[in-house]
Each structure stands twice: as C-alpha cells, then as structure tokens.
Symmetry: C2
Subunit: 516 residues, 2 copies
Amino acid sequence: MNGAESLVHTLADGGVEVCFANPGTSEMHFVAALDRTKRMRCVLGLFEGVVTGAADGYARMANKPAVTLLHLAPGLANASANLHNAKKARTPMVNVVGDHATRHMAYDAPLSGDVEGAARPFSHWVRTAASAREVASEGAAALAAATSYPGRIATLVLPADTAWDEAQGPAPALPSHAPEPIDDAQIDAAARILQGGQRTLLLVGFSALRDPQSLRLAAAIAARTGATLMAPTSNPRLERGGDLPFVPRIPYPVDQAIELLAPFRHCLTVEAAEPVAFFAYPGKPSRVLLDGTEVLALARPEQSGPEALARLADRLGVKVTDAPLETVRRPVAPVSGGLTAESIGQAVAALLPEGAIVADEGLTMGREIYPMTRGGVPHSWLSLTGGSIGIGFPFASGAAVACPDRPVLALQADGSGMYTVQALWTQAREGLNVTTLVFANQGYQSLHQELYKVGANPGRTALDMLTVDRPVIDWVSLAKGMGVPGERVTDAAELVQALAKGFAEPGPYLIEVPVD
Amino acid sequence: MNGAESLVHTLADGGVEVCFANPGTSEMHFVAALDRTKRMRCVLGLFEGVVTGAADGYARMANKPAVTLLHLAPGLANASANLHNAKKARTPMVNVVGDHATRHMAYDAPLSGDVEGAARPFSHWVRTAASAREVASEGAAALAAATSYPGRIATLVLPADTAWDEAQGPAPALPSHAPEPIDDAQIDAAARILQGGQRTLLLVGFSALRDPQSLRLAAAIAARTGATLMAPTSNPRLERGGDLPFVPRIPYPVDQAIELLAPFRHCLTVEAAEPVAFFAYPGKPSRVLLDGTEVLALARPEQSGPEALARLADRLGVKVTDAPLETVRRPVAPVSGGLTAESIGQAVAALLPEGAIVADEGLTMGREIYPMTRGGVPHSWLSLTGGSIGIGFPFASGAAVACPDRPVLALQADGSGMYTVQALWTQAREGLNVTTLVFANQGYQSLHQELYKVGANPGRTALDMLTVDRPVIDWVSLAKGMGVPGERVTDAAELVQALAKGFAEPGPYLIEVPVD
C-alpha cells in the first residue's frame, strides 16, 4: 500500500464518501488510489473553484466533509475564493493538494510554488506530509481538524513521493474538538436581559438555523419575552417553510440595516458575530447597531447554539410549543405579466417542490425572493457566506451530490455566474437535478448602486467596468455548450412553464430570466 | 485629488496605458478615478484569471506593464494562477488590490481576508498603502519594482479609505533596477568552454529570444564553435520566422529530454536555469542533463543575455553575419485529409499572416506545430511559462490589446481552455483580432500519458477524472454564448477555409478542431 492509498483508506474509514477533484500530474497516484480502492465517489470539476464550491455545498447538506483534490500552488489559488466562502461558512473540508516530489523541490521547476503559503490565508489547518509513512496519520489529523466544531478548512499538502512511496496502511481516526462548554453565567445573563423589558434582538446564526427544533425554540423565546428574532444577512444553511418560524435576515444595504436595528438596546448573539456593514463607506459607520447597544453572546461561535437555546428556554420556562406557527401558504403561480421580482418570487414560491434545496447566489434577486417563499413548502436555503461571488453553480452542484433525492433550485446572478460557469458541465456529467434561474441583468447590478454611492454621474469608462452587455451573454448557448439544456423566458407565464419543466425532469436545466 | 486619482496619475505618468480590471465595491473609487482621469484604457475581464493572464500577454508584447484591478483576497486568489505564470515569465505587472477601509478591518466583515498573505506567494513585491497621502509614492515604488530587470510582479493593496481620502497629487517616478553587470570572467570562461572542443549546449532564454539580433548572434556563435543552440521548453516570447535561426526547445517529455541532452558535456546558460524535468517521476531523475555535465552561466537570470552574447561574440571574433540563415519556406495548405498534427501544422504554417502573434496553450499540439512553422512568416511565439493551465484565451487577448495591428493566433487545448473561458467575452467586447484553434480531444490528454506512467490499466474512476467527454463540450456554442462567432471543422480543407476566414476578418473567431 502506497501513501496515497493509505490516505484514501484513512479518509474513507473516517466517513468521507466524496472526492471533488481537478487533478494534475502530481496527483496521479492519488487518482490511481481512488481508482483502485473504489471507496469514494469521484466528481470532476473543470476548474478548481468548482471543486471547492461543490465541496462546500456538499458539506452543508451532508453534514460531513468531502475531500478535494487540487494541483500545486496555482490549483490551490484557483480554489481559494470558494475556500474563503467555505471558511466563513464554517464548512468542514479536507483539501489534498499535490506538490512536487520532495527531491524535486530544489530545482524550481515551472510549477514550483509556495503551497503552504498559498493555503494559509484560506485554511484553518495546513500541513505538508513529510514522508509516505506519515501520510495516513496526517490525513487523520486533517480530518479531525476539519470536523472539529464548528467546522474547519484543513489543507494537507502531499508531495508526489509521499503518495507513491510505500506506506504502512491507514491510520485510526483522531478525536475532533466538540463545542466549547457554555457557562451558566451566559444563560443567566441572557435571561436577565430578556426579562429586563428593553428592546432586544435575538440574533441566531449557524447551527440553530439548520435545526428546526432550535428555530422553534428561538421563536418561542422571542415570542414569550418580546424579543425580535433575526438571522445574519448570509447563512450557510437555513431550514424554512411549512409552519417553521420565518426568520428575517439583517438587510445587506447598510442604511436599511441601521434603520432596522435602531430600536434595539440589547443584542443577544447565538453563534453570530455582532452585525457589521458588508463594506465601509465614506461617512457611514462600520457597526450597524445603534451606538451603546449592548452585545452579549448567549453562545459564542465556538459554542453550541442549539444547546444554549435549549438551556435558555429551560431557564425561562419556555417550551417549543410556545413558538408561533408560521401560516402555511402557497401562492398561485402568475399566469401573465412581465418578469419582476414579484412575479419571479411568486412563481418560485408556487412551484418549489417539497424538500427542495435553494442555492442562492441571486444577490439582489435572491434577497427579494427570500421573504416571498416564507410559509411555503419545507426547504433548505443556502447563501453565499463570504461575499466572494462565484459559488452559485458549484454549491448547487455539491448540494445535489449530497442529496440526490432532493431537487435543487439555484438562484444565480449573471455577473457572479460567469466566475465558475464551468460547474454546469459537472451538473451535466453527473446528471445532477439542478434547476437554475439566471437573472440576466447584464451587469454587476450591485456595483452600480455602489458606484453611485461613491460619486454621481459616472462616465462611460466606469459604467463599462460594471456592465456585461456588449456582448450580451447568451446563457442558453453557454449551457448548451456544456451539455445542459435550457431556455430563455420572456414573461411570467413562460417562467412558470419552464420552472415546472425543470423541476419535473431529472438532470440539470437552465432558465435565463431577463431582468432590469 | 483623492488617493485613487493620485495613483492613476502616478502610474500613467510612469507609462502605464492599460488597466485590466475585475473590480468590486472596494475598488469603486479607483474605477471612478479611471473614469475621471481618462488616462488608461480599461479592459474588463469577467474573472480575475482573465485579468492577470491578459496583463501578462499584454506586457510580453508591449514591453511594459499593465495595471490590474482586483477585489480583496478572494479576487487576488482567483488571479493568482496566472500571476504564477507571469512570475515565471518575468513579466512586469502592477496589481492594485482593493481591501476594506482601514477602520473596517477590525470587524471581520464577510470579505475580510489576508490580502498580503494571499499575494506573497505569487508576487515579488507586496505592500499595503497606509494612507491616501502615501498611495502615490507606493504606486511609484510598485511601478519601479515591476519594471526592474528582469520584470517583477508588484502587488499594492489599497484599503478603500486610502483611495477615497484626500491625497497630495501624483508622485514622481522612482528608478528601477537595471540588469546586473556581467564579469569578464564569465565571458572568458564561456569562451574557453566553446573553444575546448567538447559537445556544448548553448541554452538561451528570456531577453535574447525576443531580440532578432541576439538570436542571430547566438546561432552564429553555435555555428562557429560547433555548439548546439536550444531554448528552454517554455518561453515568454520568442521571435521567429523568415531567415531567423530556428531554435529547438528542450522537449517536455522527460525521457526525450534526457536522450536529446545526453551528448553534451557542457551547458552554457544565457538567462536560463539548468534544464530539469517538469515533474518528478518514480525512478526518473529530476535533472535531465547527463550526470557530470558542467553548467556555466554566461548570463545569469538577473543579467542581460543580449549583452553577454554580444560580448562573447566579440571575444570569439564571431559576427552576426556568421549566423546560418534559415531556409524561408511556406508550405502549401492541405486541401484534403483528416485533422492530424501534420495537417493542422501545415495549415497554420501556410496561412499564418506576417507579423502574427501565436499564443500557445496548445500543449501537445502546440509542441507539434512549433517545428512545422520554422522558416515561415516572421511572427512572435508566446508560451505557457509556469505550467499552470488556463492562460491561453487570456494572454491571446492581452497580446491583441498590446498590438492591435497584429493578428493573434491562439492555439488552445480544450481542458486548459475551460479554466478561463470567460476571456472570450473580453475578446468580443474589445473586438480583439484573435483567431483561436481549440484542439478538442475531450480531455486532459497529457494526464492520460502521466497516468500510464504511474500504473497500468487505470479503471473507469481514474479515466473519468481525465476526460472531458460525457458531455462533449460544444465550443461553438460556448463561444456564441459570449459573443464570439465560430465553427467546427471536420477535415483539413475546412480548417484551411476557417483559418483563412478568421485571419481575414477583424474581431475574434473560434475554430473547434476535433483531434484524437
């Protein structure tokens, strides 16, 4: 058994089932090991950002890490924007990055580079295997790091000789870190604030948002104490629909956030950071809470939100049955009219299949559709967490790999979609059941708004940097080029028909939706 | 004048004429400054790898740096694979990377990341502007670093407030480093070796390859002394065609390189490293020169190859007119037959317009076409220098921006092309005169060969990781989706017609060439 095989067995023994890969020569022994051991499903991405974005979407839905296979420092760099997003999502992930054989590193061959240096800004844990005999134990350490609460990016660099040299066999699993314990004092302090009668924001992030019981408890606590329940702007995964409580998210536009949060004197955070502006702007604050608002962590990011909410509810005598039930509703699909946020949201809400996964990189449009799907069929909602655009097609693909029985709806802005458009090919190859709405506004619409905040009357040069017209992208041709069928709709009725078709048929389907 | 404007003026005063950009919110003030000052041509890329690949191609042909505009750590990461290639090409480049405003960095907003850490592995020079007043002088320092011999990657991080705060105006240019002086002892030692009568390889890289006079001198020295002139496997730019000497390149396959280099007892390098294998393989050496071959630097990478060759020629009494003249030839285009390396190379050699730029990411196919175009029309040949695939469409685009009057022929492998396919859109928007041949072998053909070197009989899992069939990529649809017209050819006669059409018409044209 060589080093690569010992690593595959170690990771598979530890529960890893899927490898998203974009390998090169230095990873050929790992590829051969995957082939011989047949212990993982291998999914090829035609660009590394597809690989890590898919691994992120997979882990969010499978609740376990995938392994990625990447090629030296430049391959890792291509993967890093979506590692950034996964890191902010606290997604567990094990990256195996091939490097030159140890003895070859002295020669500055063309692909030589600083793999560890490239990994560090985007990983929590980085190590290089020193020899084939150590590959398995390093793999076990990487997996333990990745699965340590709340989820980490572990990057293991694998010099080619450590993959091809003889090893001793798989290594046993290593323990991963559990959530940090919660002090009674945290629970007491939170209870006192909620009983104090001042306007309080209960800001719940991460684990509790993907746990229906915790969501109901949080809503029950808010209802019984007069607090207001919200979630951060972007969340890795939020369970919603049916009579689950609707959780509004803090608005992305800084002025809206400041206005919405102005009434609160306390902010109780549950696995959430204090809300801040996405970007700084001249003359606007970075913090969006009113000055003087007291922020208290009921659960810090390293602690368990579900446990904190359960103990707080217990302390307050609140039961899960105290949660207000969301009104279940299913709007009728629009039969006519143009393509507006309202008609698109209504069509989505009317047609979304039960158990669907919504992978949202719709940006402005995604934010509009979110409240319109409240009370609809039960579904999971995945957001872009790190603000680095180019995750939409990939994380929809990874979610579909994790949950083959659940339809995926991808909400995709056009400018963002172009970053990792190659993921459509992976959807076609794997026959992934992803229906994509591409909102074609022919530009980086959100940047237009940003530019106007900067200075009035931008000229042609500036506008050209923010628009994707001239030429207009033909998304149906792009998708066809990668084996994904699709169509362009021109009004709400066509959208409804196209969505119904996309959801009814297996495999991927892309719908280009022209919007202003 | 704000910091951004002071930077634009400083860079433009220093000779920078083009900005390749993929901006985000934190760069809006720089965009506004580009707009107001109108001192640079701005070229939008829909992905950051397009931006840096284009800046590389531009600088190789313009002999001056472009500036790139990138968005925080993830945007820089997306740009880094082609920064790696540019770094190995010794391309001068100034990257301006926006970051959060200084005061915003404490808040860990979603896009916060370690920009300098991400830059360091792929840049020679990295600094962060501390205030708006220092932006101009930092920009001058970045430009001086980039243009210091032999060409460097300079990355300037621009926190948003250093762009929007008031500055004092542009900064004067700073001196850049000239080539290091060459010792007489180097010249003498090289002369002794050449006069010693043992088989000697004269390995010439970088500057001399783009200087016809130096190429002739190198060929003259070789002819007069019995040495053999070669170039490294990959070179940023090589001038060739007409009666310029044909310079064979060291073969990429390690066994071929070892065989070819076995006769040599001395290797004289001119701005070139000792040749080594691209990758290490079990049981094969990293060095491809015969053990005991003496390597001597006539010019180290930091010295001027043209100067060294001129001084050596002088010392040996060799004149440029001693150079053997390559036989000028122009093969007849094939009128029938299938699409083989031979017919494709013949078609290219027959139809390549005078003064063309060949941007070669054709990998195996590019290596076959290279010798077939010897003695043809004068042209420049650009290669992938760092081995990180995904530069082809971008560097062809940048070369076309630099030389609007010279047609560009891009030789593009299909697997590599998918990494930065978004560059086609930039070609369409800018009306760049690029004719692309996509060699569609439906896979990472070079990896197949690598896999077989690793272990026989790879199974379905392994083969699936190396093939881009299922679905087959429809390159004509992909190009159409981004506004680039094209066609798929099925035999040599169709290829000839398509090439003639592509070269005759302005703007981009893509030809899909199915090959085995």
